[in-house]
Structures are given as structure tokens and as C-alpha cells.
Symmetry: D2
Subunit: 323 residues, 4 copies
């Protein structure tokens, strides 16, 4: 098969450039073309559940609405992410924002009350609002737990009334958020579960810990596996979208080990493979572990998620609506 | 200050080459020289607690004894790691091993019952032993919990007798391990706490979940923060050794936010800074968040941990014993 | 300034997604947005000469037509590239092609007469045609040199009639190529000089050497600097497009040192900065050397050129035609 | 075969840690162990010529003496490098130096007359001395060329008396240098040829061009291939040490294509493989092109050359002297 030379013209649509990438078919362009094809396929298949993992600062980095829309459109069936992305989703729901162009002198930023994430900045005043609001929400949920735990089927049944799973906590929070762009709210409304196995390691987790210093609440780290495994077992097929690596990537793949692995997956990351860390390893390795099925369709793209994923997703929207 | 040209001769000691690196002082060599100096300093200071985070496949990748020795020598005061490294430490304690030179055909490896981590391999028969043994240990701990929770000060006091924190679970396991090379055993014996906030995301976590399908055990995701924050508040100063990125790196730095940040840190990773992910960001960024103190001594080395850390650590052993 | 969350919809144009990137403004997306803006500006300015360097397998990798069009449209004023890209441009002009999907077993590929460049493949039969044709062209030029060197102003005047500069050799070849897609032909026709300081290091160079074993031809490595420096001195301002690193990047920047550095530049590469190699260093460093002017506008994008450059260039075409 | 856990103790020698790396055998440590073994083998074999390529700022970065010693000890048979490394070797011979710890504000550095290479700095006053001295040397060589070209067998025989090959120019310069640490001087004295196909692209090249504005000198870009190919054809076997990528790496491998490829090679680089650029591609790919023999022994290490190569080389010195 030949490598076709790409043609770039004025007034191109996203779908046109994706087709040029596919027509070339090699290096990064080829991988973007193939992952777009595969993702359109994954989303279109009625019998395939789509799991999405989101690691790295993708909510502060401009992908919040994309993730929210994928939930609203039911293009994904579950989301696995970090405590940080949940924190930053809530930060925006509570009126905060993310900022840019404040330079790279971290000691000056510290004095100015700004936290830096690459070239993204946060303000401590936004975190103060976040803290006040989230504690208020924890309080509501905690009280409701004590009162209603036996009646609410969304709360993991337990011998103690003050135990909640991470997924259920995020669901309850989602119901209490007043922001139509919120990932948590949209997920709750659309019954898309959010898993965040490392949630304690975040500003959200820190506030939760502070809340538990004076309130009796236990976050069960194991409970979500019951629900997640049920979803895996009930799925005829699973496709995975892996944005970044880390715990979210591993948890997504590992949960599918229960049924022989995912049937299809795309991953986008800049992490390297040579260190052996799961974050950077090409998807093929997952086959050895039965985290991806032998014969499954897997595309690993090396690139910056904030560029590559919006591009692929725009291409996918065109493909799935034109079929 | 000049860049001195390095001199390499026959019969050099590790400490000699480290001095050549320091004398050159630039690029990777300069960073290795400075991190060796800084780590020796961190370990030598009586009033500085040393936190170590370990991400990536460092136990399968040959660093198990190094980590174990650092615990035995009390060169570190606490360890933060992934469920995977705990799983692989136990796998070796239960008689399993890690293997090499089985090629890169992941479908063939799958058929042969081998899991691949870069160029490291595991055997499913070793995991079968692991599963049997760890379930046996969970059973012992679970029974002991129900019986003795009120008497044992190491078990988080709670209103339910079946709730345990991750750190306490790992401590109890450590006491039950019959292997003098075990990180978990040595940590328990030497009262070096192990934190693993994402532990559920591992083969260890999978077995724990399976155990809880028929047994009543709750792993409290928040509880460890009480102990970790106590350690942070009680420390006059904190130095951090960050091997790889991920959740362990973030948790280590974030816990120090409670007291204005670490006083010193070295990190070794191959992850890039441009994506904004914490894994690859140079340590300076932590100052903006008060996760590292303004004015703290921070060295970020870009390299493969399996080469760079043994080298630095060997240099440190010479430095701290020669002072 | 706020980070705006990107909105991705069906039927987007390239220019729409570039605007979303710019509106977010951070991480990779922000850099792509800014480099698109800057490149449109560079190309639009009448008094700015645009230098483009092309390293890495961009002709085999699908960018041949893009480069050719930029020459045809006079969007660039000179091209600096590797011997490999010249070889592969000619290979296609002589009827050869680039191929894909032949696997990664290099010993098998060798037996099958295929050369591998990542996931791009070449066939030895195409190289055989290349060799025959290029020797034929060398012969024509060599004969013409001996006969006409004093009459042709494009041939470096020298005391020997068999001396030619690299740029002039490529110009003469361009005139003899019968392929309207050829970079060399279009460059010759449009008087866009091509510089290739490392040309000897390529299949083209190898054939040139073989030709000189029986023919008297001297390729002057210094001569091009006379022409290149003239262009630099005659330019009111210079903008640089640096695709990949290597010799082409360095030569482009270094030639501008003669007049205090470039006024604007974008670079796209995956190479890292930590090793100190020029290939991966952010453009800012060029200011210290007066290879970029203090105050110049510089954008360094980390990414795969085969994805990022077509995307940016498509955005530029929309921007410069809509102004 | 098992992955052995590494043991790190006080007072270790380099050779001890290399053995620990080999005993672990996986990830980066395994590659360092294997490349040390292979390099000792390459250097020990009487019938194997050793070619070394040096790209990136390795002379400014502290490896000048190491390279010089390898030449003095005749551990390498030829050197292929960049104009930059030749420039910086001469800069030190002429009394200049490389500096550190001047910060990262490139506009300030420019004003202070300092050029930055990562965290290495140069001073313009050192370059002024370099310029004066090198022009003086060019003048001597140019005059000697006109007078003696027919008598000196080291000068490429040509119909014009003012033509010299790059290798011969570097040889003549080496003879005129008064510095026992000089790579150029030691190479000339020991008849180790230096090839630098891209030499024009450097401060050295810039001075050479300026010299030719008033002097008649032609640097033949093709001529070296005659000598290089002779060496390749006369070698029973070839081993390659590839430090960094770029033109030097490619030229080293490509020259061996003439005889079916190298028999053994190690490469150390941080460049990635995914872009298809030769700099980052693992050595295996060279087999498809017959630049490395099928069945040849090849080790690709991902790491910073300034750390990894001194370490490997120190290990090699111990191995070859203990056999």
C-alpha cells in the first residue's frame, strides 16, 4: 500500500484533513487517522460500551466541555479520572476559573497566591470558594447518608450508615451541582458513573479528609470494584479511550481483565515506553495481560492530548453523523 | 564557574565518577552530581524526615533490595508507592519471580501465560500462588480485625470493626510475611509506614475486592491522611525522593502542602514537562503550590530510574559514611 | 486572561478548531494556536523573508506536496533540508514511491529488499531506478559544467570548471526533472534556493561520490554561504519555519546570526531540551546567540510534524486568504 | 532467566554496579549492562574497527577528555562529529572555556555576550580569540596547500591546488594545535581520521566562509567518501559507538552500507523513535537498510549521554584490562 502525499488547501474541514492523514497513513498522521476511524466505530456500535480515562490536567487544559458533551451525548459509558480533574471541574462550577500568561517564576507566583500547572494558573481565592462550597456539599451528603442509607439504592449497602463508595459520592455531588457545564452534574443526570480510585490525592481529597476530622464518613476504596466489574461483565464488548496514562489508564484496562480484555482502544500520551511504566507503554502490551483481547484493534498515538483529542473527536463527530 | 572536562580511568569507584559529574556540573551529569550531594545531605540530617515515592515497575525492575535496604537502614521515614509495586514485592515473597528475554509478541506471551512490563515478564503460575497466599493473609487480618480491633492501637479506631486504612492493612500484612527481603516486612518491623493511595488499582486490589465479595471488610481511603498529616506536622523538615511520577509523586508533595512544602527534593523521571502533567513537571512548579518551600533545594533529573537511582544511591552511601 | 474551554462540534473547519485552540491558549493547543497566528503573519508580511528548514523523513512521511505548494505559492523564500529529503523527492519523481504496512521484522525486510523508516518502507527496485536516473543527471550537469561554466551565472565562478556549490547543483537538477510535483523542480522554476549542507550524507550523496570516482566534479561545501549570507543581508526581516531539528534547523538559525537573528520563528519537534542538543532546545535559547533577535516572536511546539504542520498550515491558508 | 534484584553497597566500584545492572538485565539498567559488555568486546577485538559518532554538545558538556583518551588509546579508529564539537574543542585549545550557572534569561545573556547551550555557557571574548586563531591557521594551511599540494600525500590529489577535503583540513589543523588535550591534535598525531560532513554549519564553518571571501580555498564535500569507503572496505569488521543522533549517526551507519552494515553497535540518545527520524530510531531498523548486518549485536540505550557514556566507558576500561 502506498503512502499518499497529503494535500492541504484553503477552507478545509476537519474531516478533510483527517482523510489526508489516513491517506498518508504513516507516522503520527497515520496514527491520528486510524484512531479517528476506530473511535467513530467504537462510539457507533450499539453493543460496545465505551470507557474513557482522563489523566493529566485536561479539565484545566481546556477539555472540560468536550468531556461534558461526550457524557451528555452518551458517547461514553463511564469515566475514570483523577481527583485533580474532579477538583478543577468543581472549581469552575463554583465560579472559579483557570488563567494564563502569568510567567514562570514559581516563588513570585506563590506570593501572588497562584498555583501553576505548566502554563495554566489557578488563584487561591478560587480555591477558597471551592473549599467552602465542597465542605457544604460533603455536609449535606453526610447527613443524608445517616438518614437515608437504607432507602437509597445508589448508596452502597453496608453495615455502617456512614460508608460511601467513591463513585456514589461523586454521583451525589453531581446531583447537588448547579452548573450545566459540569462533568459531575451531567454524569449524574445521565447515569454515567465516574470512577476515581486515587481521588484522595487531590485538593478534593484534602477537603474530604478535613471534613472527616469532625464528621464521621468513610470512603470505601474497594466498593467501586463491585459496580465496575458488573459493568464489565454486562458489556458485550468494551472500547477504551485513554487520554494520558497514570492510574486512570491502568484502572480502565485492569478492570477489563475480568472478561479477557478490551475489544478496542485508542490512547494518546507523550510518555515514553522505555521505562516500563504503564503510562507510556504502547497498548499492545495489554494483550499479554488479557487487559486487551488478542486480535483487538488498538491505536497508540504519541502527542499532546489537548491538540490531538479535540482533532480526533471533531473528526469522529463528522464520521458518525455522516454514516 | 567553569565546566571541567571529566576524566575517566580504570578502577574508578562510584564516588569518583560522581565527583567527575559534579566537577563538569552541566547537563545530565551535573544534575546527577547535584542530586547525589543533596540526597546525602537529606539522609544525614537528623531533623529531616525523608519521604520516598516509588512509581513505575521498580520492584520488578530490580530496585526491590535497594528500597528494602533504605528502610532497614532507616534512611527513609516513609514510603509512598503503587499497588503494583506492593503486588510484585509480595509475589517475590511468596516464591515467585520476574523473568526476562521472552520476546515482544504479546499474543504469544498471553498464550504462554506471561504478562509483559517492558522487557520484564511475569508468569501466571506465580500469580496463582500470589492469589492463594494473599487471600489467606486477608482472611487472617479480617478475623483478627473483628476480634481485636479495640485492643490494637495500629488499627484505626472506628465505629465499625471491619474498617481498616491502607497503611494499616499493609502494616498487618508486613507482620505476616516470612521473607527477610520483603519491603512490606521490613517496613512493618522498622515502623516505616507505607502509603499506597491508589492500591485498589492493582492485582493486590483485585484480590482484595474478590475477598470482600464474601467477607466484610472496608478499606478506608481517607483514614491514612490523618496519619500522614501527623507525620508532616511533626517533622521539623522534610526531604523527598521522587522516583517516577504518578500518584505517588503527587501524594508525597501534596501532603507537604499542609506545612508549606518540602525543604528539599530530588526527582528522577523520563516524563516530559510540556503536557502539564505533574509526573513530568520540574520540581520548581511545586513552589507555586507551597508543595515545596520557596528557597528549597530541588533537583530534577531526566533519566531512567533503574540506572540513575542505583548510581546516586551508591554515591550517597559513600558520602554519608565518609563524613 | 482566562483559559476558555474548547467547544468541538460537527462540521467544523480547520480554522474553527485553531480558534478553539487559541481561545484555550494553554499547553499544546495554545502553542498550536499561537504558531498558526505567527506563521500567517510571517507569510503575509511583504518585507519578511521566510526560511524553512525540513529535517526528518517529511517527504517520505507525506509532506512533499505541502512543501512543494509552499514553494509554488512563494510562501517560503528558501528551503534548507537534508540529503534524505532530496533523495526521496527524486525517488518519487523517477517513478518510485513510499509504502506502508510491511511489519517491523528488519531482517525479513532486508531480505525482501525493503528499507524501513519508522512505519514507512522503500523498495530497492525504486532505488535502482533512482541510481540510474540520478547518475544520468549528474553526467549531464558535469558535461554542461565543463562546457559552459563561464557563461552561466548560476554556476559559482571558480578557477576550475568542475566545481559546483550544493545549491547550484540542486538548481541544475531541478531544471532537468520532469515532474510537476517535484520540490526540486518547483524550487528551480520559482527561483527558491535549496540549501542542503549535509547532502553528502544520503543516498544522493552516495551516488554523487560514486559518480566522482570516474568523473571530475567537486562539490564546494563553503560556496553556498556566500549566497545564503547575501539573502540574509538583503532581507529586511526574516521569519523561520523549523520542522524538526538537526543540521537544517541549526543552519537556518546560524545563518541569521550575521544580521542579529531571525525576527520570528516557529519550530515543531519531539526532541527534548535537557540534553542540550540544538534539535530539542526551545527557540528562546537562540536569543543568547543572536540567532533570534531579542524581542522576536518565537513559538516552540512539541509534537509530531506530520500532524501538527499540516494542521497549522491549513489554518494559515484560511487566515491569509481571509484578511 | 530471572531478573535479579540489584544490591548497592558502600565503596562500590563502577564495574560492580555495571554487574548489578547486568544481573538485573532489564529496562535501562539492563541496556547499560549489555552495552558495556558489547563495547568492551568491540574495543578488545583486534580485527574490528571502531567508528564513533559524536552529536550534541558533548565537548562543551564535559566529554572532551574522554573522547581524546579514546583516540590516544586507539580505542576508536575514526571519529565522526559535528562542526560544533570541533569548534568547542578548538575554543578550549585556544584558551577559552565553557561556563555554568548564569541563569536562563536569554536576552540578558545576549547583552552579557554569553551564548547558552542548555545550562552550559560560552563567552564572546573566547570566540573572539577563537576567530583570530582559526583564521591564522586557515591562512597557514591555505598557503601550504598552494605550495605543497603535489608533495603531501595527505592532501587529496586534485587538479586544483586550492581544494581540500574536510578530513584533510581537520588533520592539518590538528598538526598545528598546541594543546595536548585537543581532540584534533591527538587525532592527527595518532592518525585517527575525523569526519565532519556538516562542518560548514558551525562557528568553525562561518570563519572558514569568511576566510574564503578573500582567499581561494575550496572544501570538497565529496572527497572524504573516498577515504571513508576505503576504511570500510579494508575493515574485517566494524563496531560503532553512536553518541547522540543527527548527521554523525547517519553518516557512520550509511558508510557501512557499502559492505553490508556494521557488525556491532551501541547508541545512546534521548530522541524518540515515533517521528521516524534516524536520530531516535532504535538500531534494529538499520538492518533493513544493510547499515547493520542481519545478526549483528546492537544495543540502543535511552538516556543522557553525559551520564551514560562515562559510566559505560569506565566499566569498559575495567573489563578490557581485566581479561
Amino acid at each position: 500500500m502506498n503512502v499518499n502525499q497529503m494535500n492541504i488547501k484553503k477552507d478545509m474541514k476537519i474531516i478533510d484533513i483527517i482523510e489526508e492523514f489516513s491517506s498518508s497513513g504513516v507516522l503520527g498522521a497515520g496514527k491520528v487517522g486510524r484512531s479517528c476511524e476506530l473511535l467513530a466505530d467504537m462510539i457507533s456500535k450499539d453493543d460496545m460500551k465505551v470507557f474513557m480515562s482522563v489523566a493529566g490536567p485536561l479539565v484545566p487544559g481546556g477539555l472540560r466541555n468536550i468531556i461534558a458533551n461526550m457524557i451528555k451525548n452518551k458517547e461514553i459509558d463511564l469515566l475514570i479520572t483523577s481527583g485533580a480533574n474532579i477538583t478543577h471541574d468543581l472549581l469552575e462550577s463554583f465560579g472559579g476559573s483557570h488563567y494564563r500568561e502569568y510567567g514562570f517564576d514559581d516563588e513570585q507566583l506563590n506570593e501572588a497566591g497562584m498555583g501553576r500547572i505548566g502554563d495554566i494558573y489557578t488563584k487561591s481565592e478560587d480555591f477558597e470558594v471551592f473549599e467552602k462550597e465542597i465542605i457544604h456539599i460533603f455536609d449535606k451528603i453526610s447527613k443524608s447518608l445517616s438518614q437515608n442509607s437504607n432507602k437509597n439504592p445508589n448508596i452502597a449497602s453496608n453495615n455502617s450508615s456512614n460508608v460511601i463508595s467513591i463513585k456514589d459520592l461523586l454521583y451525589e455531588i453531581g446531583l447537588l451541582i448547579d452548573d450545566d457545564d459540569s462533568i459531575l452534574k451531567l454524569a449524574a443526570e445521565n447515569n454515567i458513573p465516574i470512577f476515581a480510585p486515587g481521588i484522595i490525592d487531590s485538593m478534593f481529597g484534602l477537603q474530604l479528609w478535613m471534613f472527616t476530622q469532625e464528621n464521621n464518613l468513610i470512603l470505601d476504596a474497594i466498593a467501586d470494584m463491585h459496580d465496575l466489574s458488573d459493568i464489565v461483565f454486562e458489556s458485550e464488548a468494551v472500547g477504551a479511550i485513554l487520554l494520558g496514562g497514570g492510574l486512570p489508564k491502568h484502572y480502565t484496562l485492569a478492570s477489563n481483565l475480568l472478561k479477557g480484555g478490551v475489544d478496542a482502544a485508542i490512547q494518546i500520551t507523550m510518555d515514553r515506553s522505555e521505562t516500563g511504566s504503564l503510562s507510556g507503554t504502547p497498548l499492545e502490551e495489554a494483550k499479554s495481560w488479557s487487559k486487551a483481547k488478542c486480535g483487538s484493534n488498538l491505536v497508540s498515538v504519541v502527542g499532546d492530548v489537548t491538540v490531538i483529542f479535540p482533532l480526533i473527536y471533531a473528526g469522529v463527530l463528522d464520521k458518525i453523523n455522516n454514516d
